[in-house]
Symmetry: C2
Subunit: 196 residues, 2 copies
DNA sequence: GCAGAAACCTACAGGGTGTAGGTTGGGCGC
DNA sequence: GCGCCCAACCTACACCCTGTAGGTTTCTGC
């Protein structure tokens, strides 16, 4: 009998494919084993346990998203860059729903420490160079940007926009425009609040 | 032996408590049965299956959130109302993480048709009366608002803000301010886009 | 060509879901 | 106040998933 030639990377890649097809929480070791034509127990030689497999998919997804962002903002600035940045997330979530779901959870230390997480931060920083923002406001802007983009993608995915017209794409355009407007005229912190 | 006196509502309420304590995906029928001092099989007389139990928790959570929003915006308008509205979501998520997680998923038809879902829509509409918005922009604003609030709460919950300073609360203040600013000067749709 | 390290296997214990069918308790008719 | 009967709760079981222990087979380095 010829061997399947498994490695941790192969197992994680197959798990990611399964997550996209069947949903992230249908991601079980037995299902991966079936897809690979292998006994379930054999997988434990490559991944410590189910949690490690899920973390692997999370790390894989973060790397892929980082690559998409990089191409999405390359050669652009301002609103165009913002659009490319935001679309990188949304397109990825549409094409890879299971991998996207893998990122919408508290990940284990291994996934958090992955270099791709740092990449995303650096790319976001690069995007914001196109906007004149006070240094002490940057972190707030980064968080707001992430919140809106992730939130929109998440709500679209779970069907929250299915019960109203028009199609989400129109709202997406408006949301990116709104973020661009906001970043160009970021409100200065209220002096009362910062002194209180 | 005295009976436990179960009803669907009791089972769902206990499941919600368990979700908050142990996490939404630790929400199993066996665990609920243990908490109630009952055999697992007995629960199937009250909930059809595990999916129905989860949907029950989702519907319960939506009702509770709607109630919080109502008190959060009562007697306020403009920025104060927005703040109350947004805090209703965030505070609820902090106090009831498991119930919150129950809402961050594609829910079954039963949960979607729940009256509390309609309540949230109506309350959001009431909030937006405090801002002068063209009728055709309302849906986009509602979606953006939901995206940012849900997204922030979600990212805060999964620890995305844990690796940068300052505390998320400061960014939350800025985010609500930014949304208020945005709603007061909602950018008109680009004529090019709407005609294209 | 052979020793050893992987890769892969079988076997099993433990726990979760869901079904079938039995037993018991409490409310209601009379 | 007695019995009926419904529903609440039970035991027993089949099936799937996780994770461990320990055996066998294939590939690789020398």
């Amino acid at each position: 009998m010829t061997r399947a030639g498994l490695t941790p990377a192969v197992v994680v890649a197959d798990a990611a494919a399964l997550a996209d097809e069947a949903g992230f929480d249908a991601l079980t070791l037995s299902a991966v084993a079936r897809r690979l034509g292998v006994q379930t127990a054999s997988l434990y030689a490559h991944v410590r346990d189910r949690a490690a497999l899920l973390d692997g998919v999370t790390a894989l997804a973060m790397g892929e998203v980082a690559a998409r962002i990089a191409t999405g903002i390359a050669g652009r600035s301002g609103r165009d860059a913002l659009r490319g940045y935001a679309d990188a997330f949304r397109d990825y979530a549409r094409e890879h729903p299971g991998r996207w779901a893998a990122m919408q959870r508290r990940a284990g230390p291994a996934a958090v420490a992955a270099p791709s997480a740092v990449d995303v931060v650096a790319l976001t920083d690069a995007l914001l160079r196109g906007y004149a923002l006070p240094a002490d406001q940057r972190v707030h802007v980064v968080r707001l940007l992430g919140s809106t983009i992730n939130g929109f993608v998440q709500l679209e995915r779970i069907g929250s926009f299915d019960h109203s017209a028009p199609a989400p794409a129109a709202s997406w355009d408006r949301a990116v425009d709104a973020l661009d407007t906001l970043l160009r005229a970021w409100p200065a912190p209220d002096p009362e609040e910062s002194s209180a």
